[in-house]
């Protein structure tokens, strides 16, 4: 499973960078979305993928059974998803407002502030 995930994550990163290098601001935001998803999958995979052993302690026991899935990366990924969701919601509103003001979705037309 891990090699497959590694390839998928690599492809996601590549696709994200490709999209971010396009000139359209919509594609830029799509790139950002793919990028944060790639990072979440990466955390999920590097922390070790364990199937069928939930981190639950049976009644009357003091310790969980050996080889349980690590719950921490899941909590981390969950937090990261929520953060990414909020930030991307902002980014979508931002590009909409920018489109209204600049009247173009072309990043090359947005260089008034550069020098």
């Amino acid at each position: 499973m891990e090699p497959l995930m590694a390839v998928a994550i690599g492809l996601l990163y590549a696709a994200a960078i490709f999209m971010m290098l396009r000139r359209s601001i919509v594609k830029l935001v799509i790139g950002l979305m793919l990028l944060s998803n790639a990072a979440n999958l990466l955390i999920f995979t590097t922390a070790g993928m364990t199937r069928g052993v939930p981190p639950l302690i049976a009644e009357g026991m003091m310790l969980p059974p050996s080889g349980v899935a690590d719950p921490l990366p899941q909590a981390v990924v969950l937090t990261a998803i929520v953060i990414a969701f909020g930030v991307l919601a902002f980014a979508v509103v931002l590009i909409r407002r920018a489109y209204e003001v600049v009247k173009a979705d072309d990043l090359d037309k947005m260089k008034d502030t550069d020098t």
């Binding site: 830029l28 930030v87 931002l94 407002r97 920018a98 020098t115």
Partner: protein
């Protein structure tokens, strides 16, 4: 249980939430902006004093023992950063009362300011690497919203660059955290530091170190990664620019200091070369960029970049003295840079423009403003006896001690170039007479976003400017005790076993206790005194 570690984070969150409740009440929000930040300053002083006496103040959230729960920890570095943030926050609270237009206030300027402060404080005080990421995001989201309040074209364009590059940095940071967790299986920074020493040395450690360097380098606006900063910092209302200039990049620098002294100290030899040249190019490109500009806030934005170079140079030299100098540079820069932006706001109010060519004659008209600018600008350039001189002096001395002559020479030359830019502003804005084609309005110019005159509040703009200018002078005059604190920081960062022990308890690092944090400060005191002279 040490409440003072958690309070600097909780207070701004609380004031932010309360001022959200008073969404429609402008006076209440304005009152909270000042009162909340006064309370924040008091709490930060409390934290600073107890850190000064104990060395480390820790708190385990929810009483979960150290590597499992989230740890809040203040060492001297965190405490100093928190204190400076509170000072800047209070200055901004007062200044915002006079400059923020009603339009901004109506859309939650003050709650956002509190949340930004909460994010910054949290980043300084957390002892957990993922939690650091979360605080970074809190800070970023608040800054995004502040940046685009007003919704002018320049703001939107600046914001797109700012948002994209900062999100990219966040994702690189998050990726690095994920890989790090896969390698050592913990997120507590002290625990990571312990396990890194035991971890098998594959190339992964270097890869992670470079990923952290790139992520924090973008946030700190270091050399090849700084382009978002000059593109966006001159676009929002001046109070927001000043707040960003004083705080945001410094959080990136702080994170670099923390991560590279604590977790990646064994890769420092390898990374030093990169950091050296990164720092050198940051200083040079920043100052050259500023030389080409003729707009008040753009010049200042490029100087932020240039000054970041000094801080990173302090880390790259990697001796206790150099780290002390780097932190001194951060402290000095927070005060001076914020103040220069505040002054640019006053001149804009008085003359209605940021273009240097169109301004003039303020030396005659407002001599005290000229004095405040003179103090801040010459402090930035490093003229004794102002604060910038000592920051540079310590870094240069540390550079000479490790015989890094080229980079030290560059640092000195950049000081001269900084002086050139500051003299340019001085000549154009204060010294030369007002050009005749600039028709300055009879009354003071309004903030511009809703056309209301806010004239009587000019003294509220002067007050923080004067206090911060005085502060810069005081840092210079009281350099010896401040240097003593800085040397304490240098020793603490250079010897992370004290930090690890404070988080994990004595048992974890009993083998490699080399230095007690309190005993360590006596020895460098003499050295610091000498350096200050």
């Amino acid at each position: 249980m040490r409440p003072e570690v958690a309070l600097p984070v909780l207070l701004p969150l609380l004031t932010g939430a309360v001022s959200l409740l008073f969404w429609r009440s402008r006076p209440m929000q304005r009152f909270l902006a000042v009162a909340g930040n006064v309370a924040l300053l008091i709490v930060s002083l409390w934290l600073f004093v107890s850190t000064l006496s104990d060395g480390y103040v820790t708190m385990q959230m929810g009483s979960w023992p150290a590597p499992f729960g989230i740890t809040l920890i203040a060492d001297l570095l965190s405490a100093v950063m928190v204190l400076m943030t509170a000072i800047i926050g209070l200055a901004m609270g007062v200044y915002s009362l006079a400059t923020t237009g009603r339009g901004h206030e109506k859309f939650g300027y003050y709650p956002l300011m509190h949340l930004l402060l909460a994010g910054v404080m949290g980043a300084f005080l957390t002892g957990d690497i993922f939690n650091l990421y979360v605080w970074f995001e809190v800070m970023l989201v608040a800054s995004f919203a502040l940046l685009i309040l007003g919704g002018e074209r320049a703001q939107m364009e600046g914001a797109i660059k700012y948002v994209t590059l900062n999100l990219l940095a966040s994702v690189i940071f998050l990726t690095a955290v994920g890989l790090l967790y896969g390698m050592v299986g913990t997120l507590n920074m002290a625990d990571i530091a312990l396990r890194m020493d035991e971890a098998e040395h594959t190339g992964m450690v270097e890869v992670l170190a470079v990923m952290f360097m790139v992520a924090f380098g973008i946030k700190a606006a270091a050399f090849p990664l700084f382009f978002w900063l000059p593109a966006s910092y001159h676009t929002p209302p001046v109070a927001v620019s000043a707040l960003f200039a004083g705080l945001l990049t410094k959080v990136g620098v702080y994170a670099m200091f923390r991560v590279f002294t604590l977790m990646f100290d064994q890769t420092m030899g390898y990374l030093q070369e990169i950091m050296f040249w990164g720092a050198a190019f940051t200083m040079v490109t920043g100052v050259l960029g500023a030389a080409a500009q003729h707009e008040f806030r753009r010049i200042l934005s490029f100087h932020i970049v240039s000054q970041i170079g000094y801080m990173i140079l302090g880390l790259a030299l990697y001796t206790p003295l150099a780290i002390a100098g780097g932190v001194f540079a951060i402290v000095h820069n927070m005060v001076v840079k914020t103040n220069l932006f505040l002054i640019s706001g006053i001149t804009h109010r008085l003359q209605g423009t940021y273009q240097l060519k169109k301004m003039g004659g303020l030396y005659r008209e407002r001599p005290w403003l000229a004095v405040a600018f003179f103090l801040s600008a010459f402090s930035l350039a490093g003229i004794p006896p102002l604060s910038g001189f000592f920051a540079k002096f310590v870094i240069v001395r540390a550079g000479l001690e490790v015989e890094a002559y080229v980079v030290t020479g560059i640092a000195l030359a950049v000081g001269l170039m900084t002086l050139y830019s500051m003299v340019k502003i001085w000549n154009e804005v204060f010294w030369k007479s007002l050009p005749e084609d600039n028709h300055v309005p009879e009354t003071a110019t309004p903030t511009g976003d809703d056309g209301r005159l806010l004239k009587p509040s000019l003294w509220m703009m002067y007050l923080p400017v004067m206090v911060l200018a005085l502060f810069s002078l005081l840092i210079g005059v009281l350099a010896e005790p401040i240097m003593w604190v800085m040397m304490g920081i240098g020793d603490q960062l250079f010897e992370p076993s004290g930090y690890i022990e404070a988080v994990l308890g004595a048992s974890a690092s009993a083998d490699d206790v080399l230095l007690q944090p309190t005993g360590a400060e006596d020895q460098p005191k003499a050295d610091a005194g000498e350096a200050a002279r």
